[in-house]
């Protein structure tokens, strides 16, 4: 008898409780994503110089255990102008997200702080090959990641593309004139 009442009391308690489950795409009911969560890899944007960090060196492409990436580099037009320190820059980059195993090896091997495991994790697409993310999409993912988190390049002095300030280049005209100042 007492046991039955106890059981009933529990049922009544649970009955009044708010449901813990939620309809999936409801944005307000999304579970929080952990800081270290490893979603799909994304390419990051160098805000100091308004270009991607990636130079297309292909280190990540070679280190990937599933060969889910491909990359192509080109000469950086901004380098020719003298507005960037990056000699080469990424031309094409593709990651097959359905092939990626989210291991994070590409992030470990990158020397340019160019790739990071973003918080993107949803894989449903409308087209059959929609999971093949090309450069614009990867950069958009990276920008979103940078806006949501406090991501900073690990080696800013080496990897930021902004060329040194004018004072360093100012003495150049004197050299052209052949005047050597000691």
């Amino acid at each position: 008898m007492l046991g039955n009442l106890k059981g009933l009391l529990l049922t009544l308690k649970v009955m009044r409780r708010e449901p813990v489950t939620a309809q999936y795409p409801d944005p307000s009911k999304r579970l929080p994503i952990d800081k270290r969560f490893m979603g799909f890899p994304a390419l990051l944007w160098d805000n100091s110089n308004d270009e991607p960090f990636c130079t297309g060196c292909m280190v990540c492409v070679r280190a990937c255990p599933t060969q889910c990436m491909s990359a192509e580099m080109k000469d950086n037009p901004k380098f020719a102008d003298g507005t960037s320190r990056r000699r080469k820059i990424i031309e094409k980059f593709e990651i097959n997200l359905s092939r990626c195993i989210l291991c994070g090896i590409c992030v470990d091997v990158c020397n340019f702080d160019a790739i990071e495991m973003s918080h993107e994790h949803e894989l449903s697409k409308f087209e059959r090959n929609g999971a093949r993310a090309a450069l614009p999409q990867l950069l958009a993912m990276g920008k979103k990641y940078q806006a949501e988190t406090t991501w900073q390049p690990k080696q800013p002095e080496k990897n930021l593309g902004k060329p040194p300030e004018k004072p360093a280049t100012a003495p150049q005209p004197e050299k052209v004139g052949g005047v050597v100042t000691s």
Partner: protein, 377 residues
Amino acid sequence: MVNIQTQASNQDSLQAVDMMLNLGPQHPSTHGVFRLVLWLDGERIVRAEPHIGYLHRGSEKLCEREDYTQIITLFDRLDYVANLNGELAFCMAAEKLMGLEVPDRAWYVRSILCELNRIASHMLFYGVYGLDTGAMTPILYGFRERERIVLLFEAVTGARMMHNFIRVGGVKQDLPEDFVQRVNKLTDELKRGIEECDQLLTNSELFLARTKGVGSIDGPTARDYGCTGPVLRASGVKEDVRVSEPYGIYDRFEFGIPVGSNGDCWDRYYIRVEEMRQSLSIIEQAVKQMEPGPIQAKVRRIARPPKGEAYVRTESPRGDFAVFLVSDGGDKPYRVKVRAPSFANLQSITHMLRDAYIADAVVILGSIDIILGEVDR
């Protein structure tokens, strides 16, 4: 076909033929894709024959063409409910070959995570074993506890299952700042959770009727079959690699090895429940002893172990998980052989199923706690 007809037509030689029954490979109670062929005499099993290989992915061969950082991802996928224990075994083999001295803090991080993974794996066993014996509730409780551990893994490694966290010479990242606080809270919750699970299933009359005295195997026979881990310990053999051949920092902890006496399904089940309690005590001791320090030994970016071979044994949740690594001095191993505990434990099923009832087949199979990813590799 012709033989059967002649047998049937000949009245004198008419005899009952054992019925052959396929259990699996798509049967949901076989814990993956595993085929068990049973020969039945009425309800009794006369002979059982396990057929494996449905989940064969060629992991060992794949290891020969991938470098040492990439292989860790393959070891994640061998024992896919105790990923970190698999990673640890491979990294230890490579470290032994390279003669690396792994920093203390890295070992504490590894031990804490591996013991948590052991609890998560046993919790999964607990829930699924409830299902195998016909109880629905345990899996909800088991998964609730496992979820707490998996969430902590996500905060530490960034992934719930395939972590790729343990590295040759250390670990990938240091623990997050609030880790000690979180793990203390987690151990408190798990303590309560384990007691709750224990009360729910262990002494239930129906559960006892299904498991007590079912599928017994004695110690020497289990040894002969190469059983290790809970399956061997349930048969009364006190054998645990963490104690008999301590690796890492396991000699700094005090913990008991639960040993059974009957070697039946209930003993195999209860040893795992008891092991969870011991793992919790290891975690508590490790968190207390842990001090700040480096988490990675100095290793060149592309690891090239010297020519030679190494054999390393570790205690995974399922038993003696060992890796044999042969290197020819290059950046890829020459040969990797995995001694999977599930594979050896699974062989003993032919012994356990002999003369058992067909209704007990699933209960006995479940009590071995096989992971097909590891059996087939």
